[in-house]
């Protein structure tokens, strides 16, 4: 058993070593912590699936519990953004890569990340329909309104007016980037997909505490 854990530790250290060279924002120890955390989260799954990593349900669970996200669709999209190879699982590499942006990303990285989250069909543009889809629960429905979707539609138009710089009726990455640079509040215009400072702090405190104390 101790052999196992010794071997495990060796593997983790190597992994952390190589990751910290590829992935920004985390040092080696932090990387080790994240890998260990990942293993812990995946741990009690059966061997076959453990190889693949975190599945959608588990990942969403983390997003919900640790980072306080609530919107199902956005959580799905965040999962997608993490799951770069699109195999339905977040591997350990995808985990650390994702978290580096998620927790400590620069504005550029976050713009890219958010755009990927919002680009539901992955065609490189956020279309009217996609916006509508993401915003459809954003307003309280007034029972008196004739067309409950009217407000949402209007909101989409406002967003487009604000961000669609080339007037093609949809947001390209360039549109989005330009808009966010002008007004960084627009980064999360279509849904909360970046954790706030408080939960980042809480997460990091928990994840990066000295492993010896564990």
């Amino acid at each position: 058993m101790s052999e196992m854990s010794a071997m495990n530790r060796k593997i983790i250290q190597n992994l952390a070593e190589s990751f910290s060279r590829q992935i920004k924002h985390f040092n080696r120890t932090e990387m080790e912590c994240l890998i260990r955390l990942f293993n812990g989260l995946v741990g009690d799954q059966s061997d076959r699936r453990a190889a693949n990593g975190l599945d959608r349900g588990k990942f969403r669970n983390i997003l919900h519990k640790t980072f306080g996200m609530t919107d199902d669709m956005i959580m799905d999209r965040v999962f997608h953004a993490f799951d770069k190879d699109n195999d339905g699982y977040v591997s350990v590499k995808e985990w650390t890569e994702g978290l580096s942006v998620f927790l400590r990303g620069t504005l550029d990285e976050k713009i890219r990340y958010c755009f990927d989250v919002y680009d539901l069909n992955g065609d490189g543009h956020i279309s009217r329909e996609e916006m509508f889809h993401m915003l459809k629960n954003s307003l309280i429905r007034q029972p008196t309104e004739e067309d409950p979707d009217e407000g949402i539609k209007d909101l989409v138009e406002i967003a487009l007016k604000k961000m669609d710089h080339d007037h093609d009726g949809r947001l390209s990455y360039a549109d989005f980037e330009k808009a966010v640079r002008e007004e960084d509040l627009l980064l999360e215009a279509f849904g909360t997909c970046v954790p706030d400072a408080k939960s980042i702090l809480a997460f990091e405190q928990q994840a990066f505490q000295d492993p010896l104390e564990n």
Binding site: I158, K162, L185
Partner: protein, 1063 residues
């Protein structure tokens, strides 16, 4: 016609029976309309014109029998028409001056006969026949309020006996009259709706109308009506743009026949008297001096009885100019002014040159009605939903517009960010400038700066009715709805979109408030969502530049929440909250709220950062930014005395001192701004001195930012009351940069602060020497002309101090400073007068200067200032008079030449102000040197008045009082009178004073008084001998001599007494 006459026409209320039609543009146009109707009637409807009236229309006419021609029989003073009715009665009859008319054809004739007087005829006719229809058709057709059934009745009649031709004609006539009535009503309605507020056009019309009443001769109503400015702006106003923002349209000077010239301001809110704006008035002239009246005529009626009496007699002259069209054109332009320019004009200029220009152009276009066609700007923003245009096709034109908008947007947002800081500081600068102009004397200066209210209540303007609402109102209302009911993303989108509105424009600011947006924005501050808070604060920060919004934010408890946010971890949030507080805390209650909720302490904590190290990390830079915002907020707060105290207690002074070392101007401006604001408090002045801040202030005098220089100079101005500080300024080499700053004559605020600092520094003679070295005096003298008062006060103050040195008096003269100084004696500014009199007084100690002052009649001017109600001015003038009398040639003759002058100065002895009394006593001592004058003031009762003052304990007054008494003893029986008035005993007590100058003057007075035996007895009884004996040992020869003389007199009396008794 009836309804229009009873409702729309404006009848004078004065006479109840036969009312008169007021002379107003509205009535005039009504009359013209009726006139036209009558003129055309007989040609258009010959049949109806022939209808004989039920009763004749009678009125007093101005027509003469000779005016009537062919178809009339004239005999003497009576005229009858040849045309008669069915009963043989002539249809027109004129006897003496009463005319009675029975048909429209005759009416038309009269109008033609009357020629230029036709309007007047119509008017008197209508005045005599308030309801003409009754007379024309019979009493059953009287105009009644409410439902009118006369038509129905008539119709019934017509159908009942359809043979009667006459009834049919009557019917037609009635219809015609009613048509006219409707026409009149709709016309007057148009006018009335326009006249809810005055517009440049209505004012212009009124002025034109009034001008016609001016002229020569007995009958004129007014002497003249003049604009103060011939230049008319494109919007019809004649006021300078910075007054147009107050809604002022033009200034008039109206000379009536029976009052002084009236100086009148016409503004959109009405007309009122101002403080006398002639061509380029000073600020006070703009103030309202009377009630606001709805128009010029009303105001004139109140002000001028002659006008009221005669205006009713005036004829309406026929004027072909189409009044109506002119009025229509101007409606739009007034609106523009209300919406666009109520914001402080410079803010607009800096922020939306682009938009404003475009917007005005659009709205100025006559006939572009706001409701039906939203202004181009909003079209450009493209807020309307494409779902609305069903086809989804956008017109190409709109697309093009959008493209233009896109191109200039980045430029705008860039400049917006840059402008932000300078704007807020600019506002501060303006405020401190205002405080400065309020005060000037040392005491007032510090006071006024503490609690001056730079933005007192502005009239609360809410949209008056729904029809007035601009399109942005609805857009903003929609966004607020989304803010209310949206989750974070929706809120963020709505917030960002709201920021695209021009938040510097009052329309938008008030729209946000009026749709309940402020409540929502402030509620957002209470949420946990950092993004929502940031977005909300960004908007609040912008709109809180409006004073109404500030108040609303404070009312909604926004300050409390923002103060809480200052504890947040997020630095951007802290910055925004502090900046918004900086805006909101610009009025007193706001400042108090900040303090009461612990805001001062938190703001002071924000200041804690490393500011002066050359290389800062990103984190440190953010801290510096936080500190800057904190300083901005403190700057606003520091205008309240108790906040100053709170800042000090929260430990703000050392932090400010540390930030003062910062190399960044944008940090230094709020820091120095706060310091100079607080320097009105003694504790700060000491702290500024002891914490070594003078050095930094002096250093920053040489920076290249004028605003910063101004605040530094202003801080020195306030601190240099203290001698140590003055020495420190010299020690750190601050005097030279101050003199250099005198060259910045364009920036008046800077100049005022600089000259103020120089003034206070020159109280120390060492500094004066330095100033001499740097040739400051020459420059100061040059500043005596063409400067605003706040500069002049300080310049003159400085000259007054410098001229205490004899050499400088010559310099002032050599550079031609005496003349302008004397010229300034005619001013009205209290602080300025105090300083000018001091300076003139100082100059007058030099005989050569005195010659100039004398030539310019300066002494008379000084003397007339004794009439000034302010004791400071009185005292200062009296002090200045002393050297004048001493150095003027034929001073006695000169003083006598001032009619009532001596009585005036003697009466000032009744003053309760110690300084006035001392100065007047000093002046009386000088005046009394001339025997004739002494006789005059004795007649004016100077002796008992001086005697009454003797009980004072003020050494300064004692000294001059004793001098005056000594002088006044020289005339007649004054010595005896002083004794009888009980002045001797108190004088003896003066010898116990500590002040050597008092001793000297008192001894002289006693010596004079001792020439009267009774006085000697009184003195002796009060133990004067012992005291005088001590004085005789003094080193002061004058004192010695006087004391000895007095003792000798007493002794002589005693000897004579003994001799008489025992000899």
């Amino acid at each position: 016609m009836g309804v229009a006459l009873s409702r729309a026409a404006q009848w004078t209320t004065a006479s109840s029976g036969a009312g008169k039609l007021e002379v107003t543009p509205l009535n005039e146009s009504l009359l013209k309309e009726i006139l036209r109707f009558v003129e055309e009637f007989s040609s258009k409807y010959p049949q109806e014109a022939g209808l004989v009236f039920k009763e004749a229309l009678k009125w007093e006419t101005t027509l003469q029998p000779s005016d009537f021609k062919n178809e009339y029989d004239t005999s003497g003073v009576t005229v009858k028409s040849q045309e008669t009715g069915s009963d043989g009665q002539p249809l027109l009859q004129l006897s003496s001056s009463t005319i009675s008319v029975h048909s429209f054809s005759q009416l038309s004739n009269i109008v033609q006969l009357a020629k230029s007087k036709k309007l007047k005829e119509v008017r008197t006719c209508l005045e005599a026949n308030r309801d003409p229809i009754v007379k024309i058709l019979g009493p059953s057709f009287a105009t009644v309020e409410g439902e009118d059934t006369s038509m129905l009745r008539l119709l019934q009649k017509v159908t009942e006996d359809n043979e009667s031709k006459e009834t049919e004609v009557k019917m037609k006539l009635l219809l015609l009259l009613q048509q006219l009535d409707t026409l009149l009503l709709s016309n007057s309605l148009k006018q009335i709706t326009q006249e809810v507020r005055l517009s440049p056009a209505t004012v212009k019309n009124d002025v034109e109308l009034l001008k016609r009443f001016c002229g020569e001769g007995e009958k004129r109503v007014l002497k003249s009506v003049e604009y103060t400015s011939d230049y008319e702006f494109s919007n019809g106003c004649r006021t300078p743009p910075w007054r147009q923002v107050h809604g002022e349209i033009c200034y008039l000077i109206i000379e009536t026949c029976d009052t002084d010239p009236l100086y009148i301001t016409c503004s959109t809110a009405g007309v009122f008297l101002n403080g006398g704006i002639k061509l380029e008035g000073d600020d006070q002239a703009y103030e309202r001096k009377s009630d606001v009246y709805k128009d010029l005529v009303t105001l004139l009626k109140i002000q001028s009885p002659h006008f009221t009496e005669n205006i009713g007699k005036q004829d309406f002259t026929v004027n072909e100019e189409p009044l109506l069209t002119q009025k229509m054109e101007h409606v739009e332009s007034v609106d523009v002014e209300e919406q666009g320019q109520t914001q402080r004009s410079y803010e607009l200029e800096e922020k939306n040159v682009l938009e404003k220009g475009r917007q005005q152009r659009v709205q100025n276009k006559p006939g572009s009605s706001k409701r039906s066609e939203p202004s181009l700007k909003w079209k450009n923003l493209g807020l309307e939903s494409p779902y609305d245009d069903a086809g989804g096709k956008k017109s190409t034109k709109q697309g093009a517009n959008k493209f233009v908008e896109m191109q200039d947007r980045p430029v705008r947002s860039g400049s917006k960010k840059r402008a932000n800081f300078s704007l807020s500081s600019l506002a501060g600068r303006l405020s401190s400038q205002k405080t400065k102009s309020a005060g000037g004397g040392t005491e007032d200066f510090s006071e006024s700066s503490s609690e001056s209210e730079e933005d007192e209540e502005q009239p609360d303007r809410r949209p008056e009715s729904n029809t007035d609402l601009p399109s942005e109102y609805w857009q903003i209302q929609k966004l607020v709805k989304y803010l209310k009911g949206g989750n974070q993303p929706a809120t963020v989108i709505a917030l960002c979109s709201m920021r695209d509105f021009n938040l510097a424009q009052e329309t938008c600011q008030l729209a946000i408030r009026d749709v309940g947006g402020l409540e929502v924005l402030i509620n957002l501050l209470d949420t946990e969502e950092v993004k929502c808070k940031i977005g909300s604060l960004k908007i609040l920060k912008d709109i809180s530049r409006n004073s109404q919004i500030r108040r609303a934010i404070a009312d909604l408890g926004g300050l409390q929440t923002m103060v809480k946010i200052l504890d947040s971890q997020d630095k951007e949030l802290k910055c925004l909250a502090a900046e918004t507080i900086a805006n909101v805390a610009k009025f007193r209650r706001g400042r108090r709220t900040v303090r009461q909720y612990g805001g001062i302490k938190r703001l002071v904590e924000l200041l804690d950062c490393v500011a002066d190290s050359p290389a800062l990390t990103e984190e440190q830079e953010r801290d510096v930014e936080v500190a800057r915002c904190g300083a901005l907020a403190l700057w606003s707060c520091s205008k309240s005395t108790r906040n100053k105290e709170a800042i000090r207690r929260a430990g703000g002074i050392p932090l400010l001192a540390r930030l003062l070392k910062s190399p960044h101007e944008n940090m230094l401006i709020p820091v120095v701004g706060t310091l100079q604001e607080c320097a009105s408090e003694g504790s700060y002045r000491i702290a500024i001195q002891t914490e070594g801040m003078i050095e930094d202030l002096v250093k920053n005098l040489s920076c290249d930012n004028q605003e910063l220089q101004m605040h530094c100079a202003s801080a020195i101005f306030k601190c240099a009351e203290d001698k140590t500080t003055r020495d420190l300024v010299r020690h750190f080499g601050g005097l030279k940069p101050l003199v250099t700053l005198l060259k910045e004559t364009e920036n008046k605020q800077l100049l005022a602060a600089t000259t103020g600092a120089i003034w206070k520094c020159s109280i120390s003679m060492e500094n004066v020497a330095k100033f001499q070295e740097h040739k400051a005096l020459e420059m100061l003298v040059a500043l005596l002309t063409h400067q605003p008062e706040e500069v002049l006060v300080n310049v003159v103050g400085a000259l007054g101090e410098c001229a205490q040195k004899p050499a400088n008096r010559a310099v002032v003269r050599k550079w031609g400073g005496v003349e302008p100084l004397v010229g300034l004696l005619t001013g009205t500014n209290r602080a300025l007068l105090v300083n000018v009199t001091r300076a003139v007084g100082a100059c007058a100690t030099e005989p050569e200067n005195m010659v100039i002052i004398d030539q310019l009649d300066g002494v008379r001017l000084l003397w007339s200032l004794l009439k000034n109600p302010n004791p400071d001015v009185q005292a200062s003038a009296a002090w200045a008079i002393c050297p004048c009398i001493e150095n003027a040639k034929d001073a006695g003759e000169m003083v006598r030449s001032f009619v009532g002058g001596l009585e005036l100065i003697v009466n000032l002895l009744k003053s309760t102000d110690g300084e006035v009394l001392a100065s007047v006593c000093a002046a009386i001592a000088k005046i009394a040197k001339d025997e004739e004058n002494l006789a005059v003031i004795t007649d004016h009762g100077v002796v008992p008045m001086l005697a009454k003052l003797t009980n004072t304990t003020d050494d300064r007054l004692r000294r001059h009082l004793a001098e005056a008494i000594a002088r006044c003893c020289m005339w007649g029986s004054n010595k005896v009178s002083f004794g009888e008035a009980g002045a001797v005993a108190p004088l003896v007590r003066y010898l116990k004073s500590q002040d050597a100058a008092v001793h000297r003057a008192t001894a002289q007075a006693l010596f004079q008084l001792s020439k009267d035996p009774d006085n000697c007895i009184t003195m002796h009884e009060h133990g004067v001998v012992k005291l005088l004996l001590a004085m005789m040992g003094s080193t002061d020869e004058v004192l010695q001599e006087a004391a000895a003389g007095c003792v000798a007199n007493i002794r002589r009396l005693a000897m004579a007494n003994e001799k008489a008794r025992y000899g």
